[in-house]
Amino acid sequence: MPSPIKTTSAPPDGAAVEPQDDELGNLAQEARGDVQQEQVEQEAARQAEPGLPPEFIEAIARIPLFIIRAVRANIAKRVPEIMEEWPDDMLTAHAAAWPPVVAKYAAKMAPKIAQYPEESVLVLSLVPLCGGYFTASMRSQAKPLPMAERVDMPAPAAEVAPAAPQGFVGVPGVAEG
């Protein structure tokens, strides 16, 4: 149903308009200023947050993969079935979720990294060391133990002396008879 309200756009100059309405004009000017101010603030915010090197983000994101693999290996000691329930592709998928999160919060760390570049390089150099540690731990846990150290097999039975005529087994150190 068409609206009975007649639409009236801003009329041409001088027609049916209040002769002078500085307040509305000033308000319109302030509204224009709001748009410009927001654009300036957005630009300033963009410049204040420099992007981090992608290698840095990727290196940081490898740590969760190392950790979750180590956790899986630890759980597998008691629950071997975890190796089937947490396959490698599942762990990789979880680790792949980290880079966007790291990038999101790393932007806030960018000023600190820029302020302490040497310390940042030092921390970054620890990433492969941590990764190597976790990998070595997993490999060590996966390697089968030497026979002498294995606890899952009972020790070979010692030779048992034949029963004495009286039915008593000879006890070492005790004279018979």
Partner: protein, 234 residues
């Protein structure tokens, strides 16, 4: 001030539009946050706030501002309220569609509070008598500030749920269950001067059920009866 409440699709926007059109006010301004298709042909639409404000210079207008959702919507609403305050001498109808988008239950913007608490009747800087007839819609009563709800002269609702039903039932003097079980396009309303809530169905004239109002004077215009001075005996 008119408040229309209810969930999606109960007919509140349609009722509001019909109410506004019946008033035949020369000046109507709308804050069109929802971009409801039902309001597509309602007035001249503006997406630039400065142009919208300039359009308010006209002696008569029906204008609709669609806020830029990529910008700070609260800042735009602030300017909108300031503009409405400035044109109070035209006694406009100001329609805010989906008020909770720009206000909160525990905090209302200052300029909006002025429009609600003072805008009913005030004088501008030039000494002109001003007034704003504010019409709001909201799906959730709990999300609008209490002073807005308490200032409503007309409370109109369709089906609502949960705590909203309890609040509106208290305002309307009906049971919350009735509001929860309303069918689509059925409404319950309490207007100025109504002693009891009225009920009806959208689009069906003559189906209003309930006690008729004894008077239609808005609450603001009601005055205490003047005391007659005692006559002196000669």
């Amino acid at each position: 001030m008119v408040g229309a409440f209810g969930g999606r699709g109960v007919g509140k926007t349609t009722w509001v539009r019909d109410w506004i059109e019946r008033q035949r006010a020369p000046c109507v301004a709308m804050w069109d946050y929802k971009r409801d298709p039902k309001m597509k042909d309602f007035g001249q639409v503006y997406t630039d706030l400065a142009e919208f404000i300039e359009a308010l210079r006209a002696q008569a207008f029906c204008v609709r501002y669609q806020p830029d959702l990529k910008r700070d919507i609260h800042q735009q609403f602030k300017r909108f309220c300031q503009a409405m305050w400035l044109i109070g001498h035209r006694h406009p109808i100001v329609f805010i569609d989906e008020l909770p988008a720009v206000t909160r239950a525990n905090k209302a913007p200052d300029d909006w509070r002025n429009c609600v608490n003072i805008g009913r009747e005030y004088e501008d800087a030039k000494g002109r008598a001003c007034s704003l007839t504010i019409v709001i819609t909201a799906q959730r009563v709990a999300e609008i500030d209490k002073s807005t709800l308490s200032n409503c002269d007309i409370v109109h609702t369709g089906r609502v749920r949960g705590g909203d039903a309890d609040v509106l039932a208290g305002e309307l003097g009906v049971k919350a269950d009735e509001l929860k079980k309303l069918q689509d396009f059925h409404w319950v309303e309490l207007g100025p001067g109504d002693l009891e809530a009225r009920r009806g169905v959208l689009g069906q004239p003559g189906t209003v059920v309930g006690r008729k109002t004894t008077e239609t004077v808005p609450k603001a215009a009601k005055k205490a009866p003047a005391k007659t001075p005692a006559k002196r005996r000669p």
